[in-house]
């Protein structure tokens, strides 16, 4: 295994009485594509949010390249997410009022890039993911698959080290879903990007190098190579 990018140890996270994570540990190596799967409600999304520093676990620690996320301020974690992480959700993450090119360029603007550079990088990524034709379309004018590829472009445009995807194909039909997964995994492999892919679909998990199976907030079995 390569050097670990993310290490989670003994993660516990509860919502009221529900324990979403009960002492989960997982290590993710650089350049690896890991599928996190399991039945609905087993804590997959919660794990992803903890790993990405979007929420903080009640106990346990997540380390990114050895740095514990829990010791960072919210500001520092935002910065980390902006620069080193990319996130992709099931749907509805694009800003409805922005055309594709501006949606994709937004993280760059937030990172202090000039608009001109943001635009050109954004177009480049739209082209790469095969959605250049919707560059000036609003999200409401795109198909579900196109919108998801635009969202992927937005997650990739900062060239993050780790991409977190929570059921990225959950709202798509199987063909559009396969296309999204195809571009996602191929570009990730080209760039040696680490991917954490949450899914409850075995077909989706098959795109990964390794599968982590969860049940009731804990890891079910030894990790199975996909």
């Amino acid at each position: 295994m390569n050097d670990p990018v993310l290490q989670a140890e003994g993660l516990v996270r509860s919502y009221g009485k529900t324990q979403a994570l009960r002492g989960l540990s997982v290590t993710i190596a650089s350049g690896e594509i890991v599928a996190v799967s399991g039945p609905s409600g087993c804590g997959k999304s919660t794990l992803l949010h903890c790993l990405a520093g979007i929420i903080v676990p009640d106990s346990g620690a997540v380390r990114y390249r050895g740095q514990p996320l829990g010791e960072m301020s919210e500001k520092q974690r935002s910065r980390l997410r902006r620069t080193s992480f990319g996130v992709l959700f099931q749907f509805g993450q694009l800003v409805a009022e922005l055309p594709a090119v501006d949606n994709v360029g937004l993280p760059l603007l937030l990172g202090g890039y000039q608009k001109r550079i943001a635009d050109s990088k954004s177009l480049e990524w739209l082209q790469r993911l095969g959605v250049a034709e919707v560059a000036s379309a609003l999200p409401s004018e795109m198909s579900g698959g196109q919108a998801q590829r635009v969202a992927l472009a937005r997650a990739m445009v900062t060239e993050p080290e780790v991409l977190f995807a929570d059921e990225p194909t959950g709202a798509l039909d199987s063909l559009a879903g396969e296309q999204v997964l195809e571009v996602l995994t191929s570009h990730a492999r080209q760039r040696n990007m680490t991917v954490v892919l949450v899914t409850h679909d075995a077909k989706v998990a098959a795109y990964a190098d390794r599968e982590v199976l969860l049940r009731d907030g804990a890891q079910l079995a030894a990790e199975v190579p996909a």
Partner: protein
Amino acid sequence: MSVSTLVKLAWAGRHADRFRLVFTALGAALGTVAMLAAATVYWLPATEIITPLPGGYTIEMHHRYTSGLLNDTAARPWFAAFLLVLALPALVFAAQSARLGAPARDRRLMAIRLAGATPGQLRLIAVAETAVACVLGALVGIGAYFALRQLAPGPVLFNPDADPYDFPGWRPGNGLVLRLPLPSDALPPVWVFPAVAVCIPVLAAALTTIALRRLTITPLAVTRLPRVRGLRWWPLAAIAAGFGLLALHRILGRVDFGDKDVTLPLSAWSAVILLGVGVSLCAVPLGQLAARIALRHLRSAAPQLAARWIIADPWNGSRSLAVALVAVCGAATAIEGISYGRSIGMTGRALNGDVQRFGLLALAMTLLVAVAGLLFAIVEGLLTRRRALASLVAAGAPTAVLARAVLWQALLPTVPAVALAILVGQTAIATAETLPSPSDPIWAQTALGVGAIAGIAAAASLSLIVLRSTVKVTELRLE
């Protein structure tokens, strides 16, 4: 669709819907009180009355109220009209409330649409909901009006000499007289009450239709109509026509039409309405223009987002509220100026400081109502966009940037609109006045404008409290 089905569907909502109905009713109640106050002032009897003094004496009074504004029969219609204008922001507030908690209702309506309702029927449900709330609000307003009459202070001792403009030529030797601070002794004709109770819901329903106009509810998603095309500058024509009428008014002011003449109030009022409507409608293309300029020249994330929000939805509630505000500022400025000029020109005496006091009080209330409505509009915008905003925050967008975007969105269209309102107001005074006078200095207008903008900024800042909870990652779980 039968009436019972309509009512059932309109009432099928939950928590946020109750809030919406309460605020809609509140707006309607405020509007009712403003309208009834206007009617009371308009129908004040012109006769003199005998007021008893303590100790069994009586005194004959030509003037019953502490305010010269109420005593001067020539000024009453102006004052009544001013109060009537104040009903407008209250009604806009009621219509604005129709959008409060609207995402939840829209989703409910969507489900109804899926079940086969037509878009027209859906809008009817929303409008019916507003109308019902407004009927209740109007009844509460009528109740509040009578309660306020009861609570109004009784006669007070008053020294007419303290007010040199009060009624020149009448100087009582003994100084103090008894006066009422408010016209709590008079009532408008009975028919006014049912008329207002009908008028308020109808007006509010009409305004709600406008507020919902850009919303098309499709079976699959709630989408607003797509792109907006060129800027529409035709409201400038209304402003030009208003100034034309004012010039005419000035000429008419030289002609003596007699005491009961309506030409002057009519020409001045049509002019004021034209100017107010023109200024408010201009706020839309002005906001669009400001947004386009910001889009081109302010290239950081916050103004870019804000500009896109404005361009995508030019009639967004926040702006329509700002519009109402601008209309009132402009109208108030013009009314004050015109009535001042008229009183000098026609009767040779100025109205006393009550004009200023009433004007300020009314404007402050308007501002408050407008700012509350604006707050709703911003919060609603945040709730509608919560999913996209939450995912931006998850992707590392600092909340501060989003907060700045909210402020930009509130201020980009308002600043130029308020500036235009002041400009038009000042020019209106200059056009209408028949005598040169040190009416309102420009700094007073500027202070008013700055106050309005500060209020809007305050509302936007207050809405940021909601921003924190809207961008929580849990929003990504919700449909």
